[in-house]
Amino acid sequence: MLDGHADEISRLIEPGRVHRRVYTEPAVFELEMERIFARAWLFVGHTSQVKNVGDYMTADLGRQPVMMVRHRDGKVHVLLNRCTHRGPKVLNERCGNAKRLTCCYHGWSFDTDGKLLGVPVPEGNTATFQNDQYNLARAPRVGEYRGFVFASLSPTGPSFEDHIGPMKGNIDDLVDRAPDGELALDVGMHRYVYNGNWKLQVENVLDSYHVPFGHASTVNQQGVQFARREGDKEGAAVVEVKEKKTATSWKDRKSFIVGNGHGWTSNTELADGKRSSPAFDAYKKALVEKVGAVRAEEILKPRLHNSMIYPNMSIMGLNIHVRVIKPIAVDRTEVTIYPIRLLGAPDSMNWGNIRLLNVTHSAASFVQTDDLESFVRAQKGLRSLHTDWVDISRGLGAEDADPEINAVRGLATHELAVRAQYKAWLGYMQGAA
């Protein structure tokens, strides 16, 4: 059905439209696992998740199990979670602490940097057996920016700097909110799954078009969403009720794309002058003390909504969190959402953020559940054989360059970000390593 040749793949993407097989075809998914998820720079975890020596967390890059471990020397390693004897996953818990990593099958044990320390009954080994031939494999390339650890399972390809460079400012925007200039992903997580393709979630992250209708149930009779930030009395104006149309301020939101499939949407102006609560005021004070009033104002201005670091991670500036998208099958995807603890912020502020994230992004939240419904229904609808094309043409040709930040910009209710994702997708899928 699909032989993986570049020109065959390229026929799946046309200007302003995408073939439904991109979402439904198991062979496309298999190829994505090889050409995207076994090559691209993928977000693995944050160094705060392995704070102490011996701390580990496990993850899957595409379908390949890996672990992130902090070794005695303080260095964080990304290792393949696969015993070098006969293959079992060595670590089986989502996170924990271990002195050594021991395989459950025959008991080979590895140091926290992957070195094979010993095997039971060594006299059975062949004469040429040497421990260091059997160390746990390392992810070929690992990069880190402000605690965010990424890995590529390919030894070659664009450098980490090339990949992450255009999105550093977005990571800074988040991390700089911490008075101590550092954040931690150590306050739990939300996990949800849906019966739909992973790209449905990736596209949705930068889709501001769906909000007024897709999230209608979160908007009150005045057309305003519930408050999503600590200190706000209400959320963004989404609908102009009288005219029954999308609010002008919402339509003004912008979308930016910067290559590699990355991009972000800007935020709607909220009532920032009026933002106040004991927790927020204490936080603002702490921030001002650290960075000064002018810089604090700048940091607190809601510049970004969602930022997509293609292909598997997004961060949000409104209800601050980090999202990791994991494809399971062509029609099954798992997502993890980490709340963020801003170091140096008062507990009450962090707790306020955590609490609001419960109602926006948990599996039982007011917001995310309606998105999941759309993903599941899209996956079902795309079974239709005779309407092959998925339309992503909104605003096609209306983009223009934003020379100041070296980005292409358009309206967030347009689909330039989705088109940019497919441009990157095609690049990966046609074998550009």
Partner: protein, 160 residues
């Protein structure tokens, strides 16, 4: 401690579950005290709803927003709506302070949910902190510890 008559507690828990199964969410909310909360932790033995993520942690305000949404005609995640059947058992009155009118009741809950061609089961232990209110009770806190609280869930729209 004198033997506690479990019957009024059992009756109350069954009534509460019935309101949920009947989708009488506003009446369900009215069972909570003004400072009452509904909590479903996201990890086993979670000691606080404040310092880490929870599946649900609603005070009355958030509960109201949740229920406004559940009654909204455009709640896509409830089109069609969930149907649920709760069963409550193994009820133990863990603490009873008749003077203060404060009680802790632990029970096992199972909720089967059917929606859009799919049926699934939620199960766990629930802890109700109850306050006497005239002849009945109000809920100061309902906490549901699901056995699979830390798994990845498909969308959940209705409280357990």
């Amino acid at each position: 401690m004198a033997k506690i008559d479990k019957a009024p507690f059992e009756e109350f828990l069954i009534h509460e579950a019935r309101l949920l199964d009947d989708r009488r969410f506003r009446d369900w909310m009215a069972l909570f005290t003004d400072d009452g909360s509904y909590w479903v932790p996201a990890v086993p033995n979670q000691d606080s709803p404040f310092n880490q993520a929870s599946l649900f942690y609603d005070d009355r305000d958030l509960m109201k927003t949740r229920i406004d949404r559940l009654e909204h005609p455009l709640i896509h995640a409830q089109t069609p709506p969930s149907r649920t059947a709760h069963i409550i058992g193994n009820i133990v009155v863990e603490s009873a302070d008749d003077e203060a009118g404060k009680y802790t009741v632990v029970s096992t809950v199972m909720m089967v949910e059917y929606r859009d061609e799919q049926q699934r089961v939620f199960a766990g232990r629930q802890t109700h902190t109850l306050k006497r209110d005239g002849g009945g009770f109000r809920i100061a806190q309902k906490k549901v510890d699901l056995i699979n609280c830390d798994s990845a869930f498909e969308a959940m729209a209705v409280p357990i």
